[in-house]
Symmetry: C2
Subunit: 305 residues, 2 copies
Amino acid sequence: MKTSSELSGPAFDLKGFFNERHALIDGALDRLLPGESVDPVSVHTAIRWSVFAGGKRFRPILLLTTGEAFGAHPEKLLATACALEMIHTYSLIHDDLPSMDDDELRRGRPTCHIRFNEATAILAGDALQTLAFQTIAEESSLSTEKRVLLVSELCRAAGTPLGMVAGQAHDLEAESRAVTTGELEQIHRLKTAALIIAAARCGAIIAGATDPELEAVSRYAAQLGLLFQITDDLLDITATVEALGKTPGKDARAQKATYPSLYGIEAAHQRADLVHQEACAVLEQIDTPTERLRAIADYILKRDA
Amino acid sequence: MKTSSELSGPAFDLKGFFNERHALIDGALDRLLPGESVDPVSVHTAIRWSVFAGGKRFRPILLLTTGEAFGAHPEKLLATACALEMIHTYSLIHDDLPSMDDDELRRGRPTCHIRFNEATAILAGDALQTLAFQTIAEESSLSTEKRVLLVSELCRAAGTPLGMVAGQAHDLEAESRAVTTGELEQIHRLKTAALIIAAARCGAIIAGATDPELEAVSRYAAQLGLLFQITDDLLDITATVEALGKTPGKDARAQKATYPSLYGIEAAHQRADLVHQEACAVLEQIDTPTERLRAIADYILKRDA
């Protein structure tokens, strides 16, 4: 276990830490996903196309980092971290479909239904969701009590009425009309923050965190989720197509409600700063080394892609 | 517990038994699914439109019947039976989509994407799949050991490479070319039989059946799944639109490989008889009252809708 001083300050190499965890997660995903030569080849090729499309692995890294902060070994966290990334990837595949957000480019590459076809993309998303729950249910390094808690946690964060699918439904419904800032935050709480909160909570659950610790972790991750969305909206305005891997300015052209469109760019930056401070304030209350969790919040605030 | 003589013979009212179990399942589904007035209203209304569309509840009834045959109380079986029906319904919603089988009518009513829209249908299917696993994970009347076994069983039957989604992928791929009878049986084994086998196995698992019993149950249900598909194909040729609730003759117009198209109608009927006999022969080897399981096989052989 590294000491606090080894992790904080300019000496802590966040990028190196991210890269190492990224490689660990990608290796585990590669082992868990069916190979491209396994029938049905179309679906498995499409799954791997989307899972290995250059995602930043933000959610599984958050799960690992939170779990490690509370003392869990990465090996016990990896399967659930991968399950979370499978849920996230399934949601991207389905959200990109023509009847949903109709996106042709993601992370600089054609989206799943463009590269393959719509039916294959729907099935790849469906199969990824299933595989996520199978991965947790069959993770023998965890007690069955933990496994059912994790499946329940992930289901509530991914489904309806209080999870990701509910957020996507609200988002589609809001496209046709003006939304208030309150509605916008509710959409993002469901669509983006729910899974980010689940990532942090699942890590803490595996590590055996107490209920008050879980509560604090949830509040930290809720701020992190909000921060993630505000910076995402800002990047859509300010980033280049190369950095973003997709066409920027899409929100504005779609007249979509975003933090910059509702608050203005400057106020959106100020809101990001405030939310970042609140996330860090919650970490102060947790009696375990949280330098890496703080570094993640710093990273999200300053990210350029 | 009723004795064997009370259950068998002309005195056993299969239709009454089905109706009673159907009502039990519908009541449980109604309790488990979010109400239509719960946000997001669109998705929850679409979910209930498809779940309560007049389905026969064949899979959950099979789960209840198998579990009861091995001594489980219906109350312990109901949640998993509902989860299975949620998985089945999600697959129907997604299979009916324009990019998949492109069906506008099911059970005499507009399909989900016709009644609502494509995005809502995709999200309703996604949310139903999630809710299925949540339902099992949170079923407190079952031990956590049983719950993870059931989630794993259902995931393997629903996903890839050996479950329902794999079958749908093979089926779509086979539409564009001639298939052999071996390929046709493999498609149906995955697309239809996998979930029917899981239904019987989940019931037996909840009841605490032994491994040899589970093995026998799987063989019975595999024959039942095959029988179900053969009679389904035959009904597409012989049934009326009123009885079927969808347009018959669709397979032939789509030049889809079916048992009648590959074997001829008469030989398909003979194959159904043979498969029914094999299912009943497996039941002879099970040392528990199996009259109702036999009655289900009889019903599938003779069904007219």
